[in-house]
């Protein structure tokens, strides 16, 4: 693992809401080109961890680095100074210059999908992907309004069409995004995330609500896009078959804290993981 570049480095991240510690002292590394999974029972803090990485929340304490550059760094301050119950409180300094909003993090090259699909409901499939290209377009509001950047617009449209073609979504391009079947909506959300030209793709339960057939296809699809776009994938998932099949490395958390890490085979046989999922027997 050490020979590869680390794309995402999460160090001692703690997220505390009032008295509730949603993520506790989480550290993990996501190496370039791999598929890394974050698993855990419901309410373990997986999505909160994602939200700390993508800038939706600012973690109470800890450090997140992307490609070696610090992205978020914080320590308990303000009200949390007294209330903080996590660890490593004195290890970090707060740097307001690097607490970016989600859009800036996306601009750095991290794209995500959502657990409960969040497509733009009044837009067509085509427009959903096209709009995600807005961020990288070389234009300003005047050149866009007066059509002096029409070339850029044409490029965006062509790229969108190409992207939809690759994802087998082109035939639906003029339909409303929300009128698609569930599985295709998930795929469209991934296509939309890819349109922001990310290096790292965060997938929040991409297989939720899918049948085994669809889940298997999704697994192949994730590997395919990883290879095609040279992506690194970091995903949250509940379908163990999928996770075990496609992940290179797995982190398991429960009640916000890491309980195990390792390659799929080790995780499958790890007693703590089995206990967390099935409950500890009474004896």
């Amino acid at each position: 693992m050490s020979e590869k570049n680390i794309v995402l480095h999460v160090e001692n991240v703690t997220m505390q809401f009032g008295g509730v510690i949603a993520v506790n002292n989480l550290s993990l590394d996501v190496p370039e080109g791999e598929i890394i999974a974050l698993i855990g029972p419901n309410g373990a803090g997986k999505t909160t961890a994602f939200n700390c990485i993508t800038g939706v929340y600012e973690p109470t304490n800890g450090l997140v680095e992307f490609c070696g550059l610090p992205m978020v760094r914080n320590f308990p301050h303000g009200k949390m100074k007294k209330q903080y119950q996590g660890e490593n409180a004195d290890k970090y300094i707060h740097d307001p210059a690097i607490s970016p909003t989600p859009d800036k993090i996306t601009a750095l090259g991290i794209a995500r999908t959502f657990q409960n699909i969040r497509l733009w409901r009044s837009m067509t499939v085509f427009d959903n992907v096209l709009t995600a290209k807005h961020m990288r377009a070389k234009q300003n509001v005047f050149s866009a309004t007066f059509r002096t950047s029409a070339k850029e617009e044409r490029r965006m449209r062509e790229e969108t069409a190409a992207l939809l073609e690759e994802q087998d979504l082109l035939q639906y391009k003029d339909e409303l995004a929300t009128s698609l079947p569930y599985g295709l909506q998930r795929r469209l959300e991934i296509a939309r995330a890819l349109a922001t030209e990310p290096k790292l793709l965060l997938l929040d339960e991409p297989a939720a609500g899918m049948n085994p057939q669809e889940t298997q296809e999704l697994g192949e699809f994730i590997q395919e896009i990883r290879d095609k776009y040279g992506l690194t994938v970091f995903l949250i998932e509940h379908h163990m078959d999928l996770v075990m099949k496609i992940s290179d490395y797995i982190y398991v958390i429960d009640f916000g804290s890491e309980i195990a890490r390792g390659v799929p085979r080790d995780i499958q046989n790890d007693q703590r993981v089995i206990d967390a999922y099935l409950g500890v027997s009474e004896e």
Binding site: T47, N51, V56, F114
Partner: protein, 297 residues
Amino acid sequence: MSSFVQANLPYLLAGISVGGQYALIAIGYTMVYGILRLINFAHGDVFMVAGLVMVYASASMPMYLSIPLVLVATVALGFTIERVAYKPLRSAPRMSVMISAIGVSYLLQNCALYFTGGLAQMYPTIPWLSNSVTIGGATTKMVTIVTPILTVALVFALVLFIQKTKIGMAMRAVSRDFETSQLMGIKINSVISMTFVIGCFLAAVGSLLYFTNYPSVIPTSGAMPGLKAFVAAVFGGIGSIPGAVIGAFLIGICENIIKGLGSNWTIFSDAFTFVLLIIVLLVKPTGIFGEKATDKV
């Protein structure tokens, strides 16, 4: 110091009085918002209609009949508005309900314009309330003293009602979680109607007190007190009754003190309320007593 108080006493008294009247309106806003998450833009106009009903009622019947009639008519109006204009939109986006409220406000103002023929209607003199009294060298009407006392008494009764009765408990539950309370068998429609009934009753009382201080009622009389009462509700943390009352007194006092600063500043006595609103929204958007709400991603 004492000369300053002496000079400003009339304004201070007027402020406390107006504050109490705003408080009575603000409770209607804050309770409706707490339950429906709706800024009931029509509430100020309901308040104005209560004033007009008093004008017309007192012209044809004695005071001891007109006052109860005003209370009943206002409550009936509030109940009808909720049933006709808000209930059908229960599952619609919040913006539609707010637009409906603006529509009702427009309708009430235009109806008032039609019935009054655009003329200011002389507000009747309510005996005893309009009597003059002198406090600390400042002459004022009895209503100035009655208002804060009555307001505090009514708020106390209301808080007791919400804390102790079954329907009060249902109200608290609905404001906490609309859907779940519905699933738990609370008849939300009657809870919501009750909220409007209480809100409009207090607005009617407020109108009796408020218009006693003014010579006449016009169709737009309700707009500004309505907005100010709403600001008071936001200031205190929308959904919180004590918050609304404290906010209302503060706004009433401040605007009257500004009026006392001199004629060049009078124009800002209304605008000040909104400056206060914006400061509160920026510093603590949920108001002094409000609870923090977060969006789930």
